[in-house]
């Protein structure tokens, strides 16, 4: 047996080379082994070097002050979820270090009874602190010895009093809690944070990722909402709703040039601080999610389309105002204002028949195109997750459908659709998507042109005339140059429209000489009351809301009342009989 086979058993199987080659192979092997040994030493050195680096790093980290810097004040102050503010920095949603009341039966740690006193005694003590507590239920809970929350939110002074009960098992862990300092204000915009820590309904849901991102949540997110305007809007809507005994109300204030939503309210509201059964049923957003047939507020849109298309060139032209007969259907006006009306009178008196005839002359395709340009055929453009699909009449409109759409029937959209369309109508003709994000100057989207500049200018005159001479008089806040159109549509019910339940809307913009804001207010099923002179129509309930709201929000938004300024309507004035008086 030779050395080679000792070293490598496999070598035995190979053919034996000649002696000289064998000795050469031997020396080669010795060389290879020696090299490998040297290289293993190198490898050891490498590992020692890396380990040395690691150890030096540990020494460096341990003796540096980075260990203390690991808990910085900045980090301690970093909220668990980012703040939401309005456009002026007023906090709308913030984290709040709240206490909760937790029953920990093992707190005593001796395996005996979890409480010092009897469950009945402790329950009575808790009842004295929290009068709304169910004493019997709490007593049963304490007696059962099962851990769990007794109460999710405890105020600091209540926490002190619970402490005084002297029960170790009643623990009050600090839990960061989402707090909405403005209460139910703008609840539909904000939404709330559910128990799983994720936002629901409003911007809390939309911004969820951004608000939870540790790198970003230190900086608050500013919404386009102006809390002062929001407060005024909600106040006036609530007042209008109560005065008219309405089921609900909705309102929106929109910047016509940028599409920013200054205020958005859907009543009744919910309280995001305390979500209960009733609150959950009110989370439905009437402004962006519910679609309505908005009625006569569509007439200015039809007229604008007609002016834009050149169908209405001569404002003195008188249109037939008699009942329209299409097949078996008849389209009538609620009141008669004479055999014929001109365009200005049509809008002032809100004539269905003339609007239908204008639309008929305009043609279904051109009206349909304008409505699509205004985004009426798709869900409204806004960040909120709850956006309603319009009821859109589809592709080929029969003649009768064209006529009903012209005065806002047979098409159902959200109030937000209407507000965006009105903004496009008065701002020079450019439609822009609505947004709830605060936009810096110059950030406004370019939008798309729907109407010509000249059309928009005419519409400002006409809208202003409606609120000077027509159904919008109750909205005409002195000095604010409000212009707008009423709409009172019957709600569809079983077997046709219900004459008694209305959706009354007022869509307005101000100041009409250089429109800045669109305001849309809507009441759901208002009843005739003393306040509205026993009327149900928008002129008597929705329009006065705008009339009271604009003087409140105008100064906040930089619009000063000025009796001497107004849009120039001198060329259209002679068309209105008795306007000069």
């Amino acid at each position: 047996m030779n050395a080679m086979s000792l070293m490598d058993p496999l070598a035995v199987r190979t053919a034996h080379p000649p002696i000289s080659e064998r000795s050469q192979l031997m020396s080669l092997r010795e060389e290879a082994l020696d090299t490998a040994r040297m290289r293993i030493l190198l490898l050891v050195a490498l590992f020692v070097f890396i380990a040395f680096l690691g150890l030096m790093r540990i020494v460096y980290l341990g003796s540096s002050d980075r260990a203390y810097a690991a808990t910085t004040l900045e980090e301690a102050l970093l909220p668990a979820r980012g703040e939401i503010t309005d456009r002026n920095g007023v906090p709308l949603a913030r984290m709040f270090p709240a206490y909760s009341l937790w029953f920990n039966p093992d707190a005593m740690g001796d395996g005996g009874a979890p409480l010092v006193n009897s469950p009945a005694y402790v329950a009575a003590g808790l009842k004295a602190i929290f009068p709304d507590m169910d004493q019997a239920k709490i007593e049963a809970r304490l007696a059962s010895g099962k851990a769990g929350y007794l109460r999710r939110r405890v105020l600091p002074e209540e926490a002190n009093r619970v402490q005084e009960l002297g029960e170790l098992a009643l623990e009050m862990p600090q839990e960061p809690d989402r707090h909405y300092p403005q209460g139910s204000m703008a609840a539909h915009v904000l939404g709330h944070v559910a128990a799983d820590g994720h936002g629901r309904v409003g911007m809390e849901q939309v911004l969820d990722e951004r608000l939870r991102d540790p790198a970003l949540r230190g900086t608050p997110v500013a919404l386009s909402i102006d809390m002062r305007v929001q407060g005024a809007l909600e106040d006036e809507l609530e007042r209008g709703m109560k005065l008219n005994d309405a089921m609900g109300a909705a309102g929106i204030v929109l910047d016509v040039d940028t599409g920013e939503v200054l205020a958005l309210a859907s009543l009744p509201e919910f309280n995001p601080n305390k979500i209960d059964q009733e609150g959950a049923s009110n989370m439905f957003n009437r402004v962006t999610n519910q679609v309505y047939e908005l009625g006569s507020t569509f007439k200015p849109l039809t007229v604008a389309a007609a002016i834009d298309a050149g169908v209405v060139k001569d404002f003195g032209r008188r249109w037939d105002a008699k009942t329209v007969h299409i097949g078996k259907s008849r389209l009538r006006d609620s009141h008669s204002y004479g055999e014929t009306l001109n365009v200005a009178q049509t809008l002032i008196h809100s004539s269905n028949t003339v609007t239908a005839r204008i639309a008929d002359e305009l043609g279904a395709e051109r009206l349909r195109r304008t409505m699509m340009d205004l985004g009426m055929h798709e869900r409204p453009y806004i960040e909120l997750p709850a956006r309603g699909h319009p009821i859109w009449p589809g592709e080929d409109w029969p003649r009768i459908r064209n006529m009903t759409v012209s005065y806002g029937h047979g098409i159902a959209v959200t109030p937000l659709h209407l507000a965006s369309a009105y903004a496009a109508m008065v701002n020079g003709g450019t439609w822009r998507p609505a947004t709830l994000h605060k936009l810096a100057p110059g950030e406004a989207p370019r939008g798309r042109r729907v109407f010509k500049e000249s059309t928009s200018s005419r519409m400002r005159q006409l809208l202003r005339m409606i609120s000077i001479y027509g159904t919008g008089r109750n909205a005409d806040a002195p000095g604010y140059r409000v212009g707008g159109k009423t709409g009172s549509a019957e709600k569809p019910g079983q077997g046709g429209y219900r004459r008694t339940s209305l959706i009354s809307t007022f869509a307005a913009a101000f100041p009409m000489d250089r429109p800045r804001y669109v305001v849309v207010t809507m009441l759901d099923e208002p009843r005739g009351t003393v306040a509205s002179s026993y009327q149900r129509t928008a002129a008597w309930n929705a329009a006065p809301i705008v009339g009271r709201l604009v003087p409140r929000i105008g100064p906040m938004l930089g619009v000063r009342p000025d009796e001497r300024r107004d849009v120039d309507i001198s060329d259209l004035k002679p068309l209105i009989p008795g306007a000069d008086k």
Binding site: A32, R37, R39, I40, G54, L55, T71
Partner: protein, 417 residues
């Protein structure tokens, strides 16, 4: 007589009297031959692992709980205990093998796992956007089991040179490595790919590649990493965040906060707070959890344990005079300790985040078994008859400092020389 048949004079023990006694005899031989210091280091690391996973388990269990299912705090601890018990069994079983059996076993295992690696793109399971797992009732990563087999197979290929210096061992080994790395890059699993390429680099260096070539190899490695940087978004993000300090509150940053939160001596067992916010607390960042709860001194100790493991095996390998054993032992050590060092350096922010676990310590599921197999094979490879005293060249002689060594280093093979 050969090296895998210990030259121990067994006539002293009683003649075989049946299966049971032969098992006992085998065990006694195993106990005499196995590297007990290495075994002790491994067992010590596994005990540390049990404690560390117990510390990290609540953090990961709470993080991975959903509203539908709430994991108990020690969920990962109990599972880890079970895996560790299995891994110990595998470790023991593998270390019972003789060197020769270990080599054959590794080649068969390597072939099988390579086959599964080819199947992964087709029947693999996706987890977190990477397709690395195969589900055959039990879910496992073929690449984890391929690791030990790969090191041994490469060592075997390189040792062909001993029979015929003209065999193209480098080309064969490079092709083998290329295939494995390519399959890993497909998954994608760059951490593992780097490890496989690294073990090849170590073995090609040990097999006597000239320093000029090693230099160009390092250059090629640097070029490859640069290329990955530009081609793969994932790699770029990790390297960017490493170089640029990263955004606050990314994983690495959270890991450092956790690591440092305990100071030199730690907050104490189960008293850490920062770990709760750390993703992958029980796997990639367990070193940071150890830092928080047991202090930086414990971290330094663990680092030294890995170094001791490497030094122990490698210094013993210098004494070997079989190239295959030297290469296989060094390759396996490089794999284990290399991965451990990379993981620890990531935790210490000296290395970009790699997505690598701390071998033997991290929670790993089926990869704990793979790790048990790996150290078991290492123990098998490093088994040595303690009665065979070799008088090899001392370190001083190797470096040319000492006296000229006597011809015929091992006393038992003096006759042939």
């Amino acid at each position: 007589m050969s090296i895998d048949q210990p030259a121990l004079n067994r006539s002293r023990s009683e003649p075989p009297r049946g299966a049971a006694s032969s098992h006992i005899r085998n065990l006694r031989i195993w106990w005499r031959e196995v590297d007990r210091v290495l075994l002790g280091l491994i067992v010590l690391l596994m005990i540390i692992s049990t404690i560390a996973v117990a510390a990290a388990s609540p953090a990961s269990a709470r993080r991975l709980s959903t509203s539908a299912e709430r994991l108990p705090d020690l969920y990962f601890f109990w599972k880890h205990l079970a895996w560790q018990a299995l891994a110990l069994g595998v470790l023991f079983g593998a270390s019972l093998m003789s060197r020769e059996t270990a080599r054959r076993f590794a080649l068969v295992l390597g072939g099988g796992m390579l086959f599964f690696m080819f199947l992964v793109p087709f029947i693999g399971t996706d987890i977190n956007g990477a397709r690395r797992w195969i589900d055959l009732g039990l879910r496992f990563q073929p690449s984890e089991f391929l690791k030990p087999a790969f090191a041994i197979a490469l060592a075997w290929v390189f040792s062909w040179r001993m029979r015929d210096p003209n065999l193209p061992v480098r080309a064969v080994s490079l092709a083998l490595t290329g295939v494995v790395v390519f399959l890993l890059a497909l998954q994608p699993n760059f951490g593992e790919a780097v490890l496989f390429a690294g073990v090849w680099a170590v073995l090609v260096m040990l097999s006597g590649l000239s320093f000029a070539r090693i230099g160009s190899l390092l250059g090629a490695g640097a070029a490859l990493i640069t290329a990955t940087y530009f081609i793969y978004d994932n790699a770029r993000h990790r390297i960017d965040s490493f170089l640029g300090g990263g955004t606050a509150f990314d994983q690495v940053d959270l890991a450092e906060r956790t690591l440092l939160a305990g100071g030199w001596t730690g907050t104490g067992f189960w008293l850490g707070l920062k770990k709760m916010r750390l993703p992958e607390a029980h796997t990639d960042y367990i070193f940071s959890v150890i830092g928080e709860e047991f202090g930086l001194l414990a971290c330094a100790l663990i680092l030294c344990l890995y170094l001791a493991l490497a030094a122990r095996v490698l210094m013993r390998m210098i004494d070997e005079d079989d190239l295959f054993t030297m290469l296989a032992g060094s390759g396996l050590t490089a794999l284990i300790v290399g991965q451990a060092f990379i993981n620890m350096l990531v935790n210490l922010r000296l290395f970009p985040s790699k997505g690598m676990t701390l071998p033997l310590v991290s929670y790993g599921g089926s990869s704990t078994i793979a790790m048990g197999l790996m150290v078991g094979l290492l123990l098998a490879i490093t088994r040595r008859n303690p009665f065979l005293k070799r008088r090899t060249a001392g370190l001083a002689q190797l470096m040319g400092l000492g006296d000229e060594p006597a011809r015929g280093r091992a006393s038992i093979r003096g006759s042939a020389s």
